[in-house]
Symmetry: none
Subunit: 228 residues, 2 copies
Amino acid sequence: MQNRVLLVEDDDELRQLLARYLTNQGFSVREAANGNDGLSLALGQNCDIVVLDIMLPDISGLDVLRSLRADTHLPVVLLTARGDETDRIVGFEVGADDYIPKPCNPRELVARLQALLRRIAWDQAVEVDAARTYGDLRVEPSHRRIYQDDKPLELTATEYEVLQVLLAHAGSVVRKTDLMQWALGRRLEAYDRTLDMHISNLRKKLGNDDPPRIETVRGLGYSYRVPT
Amino acid sequence: MQNRVLLVEDDDELRQLLARYLTNQGFSVREAANGNDGLSLALGQNCDIVVLDIMLPDISGLDVLRSLRADTHLPVVLLTARGDETDRIVGFEVGADDYIPKPCNPRELVARLQALLRRIAWDQAVEVDAARTYGDLRVEPSHRRIYQDDKPLELTATEYEVLQVLLAHAGSVVRKTDLMQWALGRRLEAYDRTLDMHISNLRKKLGNDDPPRIETVRGLGYSYRVPT
DNA sequence: CATTCGGTGTCAGCGTGATGTAAAGGTTGT
DNA sequence: ACAACCTTTACATCACGCTGACACCGAATG
């Protein structure tokens, strides 16, 4: 994927240096030497990410960002010579995604750009697998519910956690100590039968099938039978 | 939104300092003093974002991140004393979202955490404000009124806020702490039953149906039953 | 094979903390 | 002063996680 980056920077030398580096790294680069041109290009919806210097000849990079944020959520990385930490806070408050002090290492700039683009790609893919399905069971984290054949199971908070962990590892064994940590949030102590009880109750609510959906792996833990 | 941050840092003093600061800033904080505990907690799906030190007593923070990335896209901010730029590149390549060198200004840490969480919220935002109708209820923000079957409900100001928040998240659980913050504009303190009262009154005004339109999710919050 | 022992299944009851709600108290605006 | 309404108090209720007790089972041991 060829990402389009908009470089807003008034120092010609630095801008051309970065442009060349970014191009070599596989980006498609657009350039602007002042705030107004930058804002105009950014609003043109022809780029995926913006690298924005704060000190610009016409309007401040922060103002460019403010205008941009009035309309879009375009990812923006601020670039600046000022090292003052208060400036950084302001940058983030105005809506920046990242903030790199000059002089910046081009490699770090690229790494941060890619991290940001990767994050966006991940987030937008989330909607797809948000509802996880395992055979006749469907986990809906937002509702905090698990459906069996589209009918909600009446689970308690802890039961939900336990089953959700087992499903997330469907097909493989989850050790009791891990299950305890992940679902109950505490360490498994000796003679603690709590987990066994929750498993027992879960099996009851899931319908005591044979073979059981939740298999016991003696001496180890439990495993949700992967649907075939 | 009360965000849950997991703090993985072996230096007790620094960890507690940051934990306190983050709590003051409205985060709900979980802590781990080594890599294994941190990984375990992170996999437990009980937090929204991770702050991860690289130098840990047992396994490297980078290895923790690698393991995490095998399963999840949980946002991770690396924290480290090393200033070497090569390290940063590696951090990003392994899947970090941000990288802050120590000593870090807590304010900057919070700003970066919030920027990252904001980015995720933006990316995942679907068309929210389009439909302001939920079954037989219709929200009209301009008049601060909610209509049931085109007849206005006689709601007090606070009741309107509470119901409007619940409707905006119809179908998902709204944590009590968030509901308090969003509708009442203040922190939920222990033994504060105000919210419960407003819910009780709302249910009365909405007609005490069965199943109730406003469902209780014990230990978490409430959720408006999505009309089917 | 019989015995032992630790791991597991589960019933029933307890205790704690969360929730529902009536009523009283306090605050604000008119 | 009065009404409206948010908040607090108080009490009843309930959900549910947890534990003790006992039965059962499988593996190891002699």
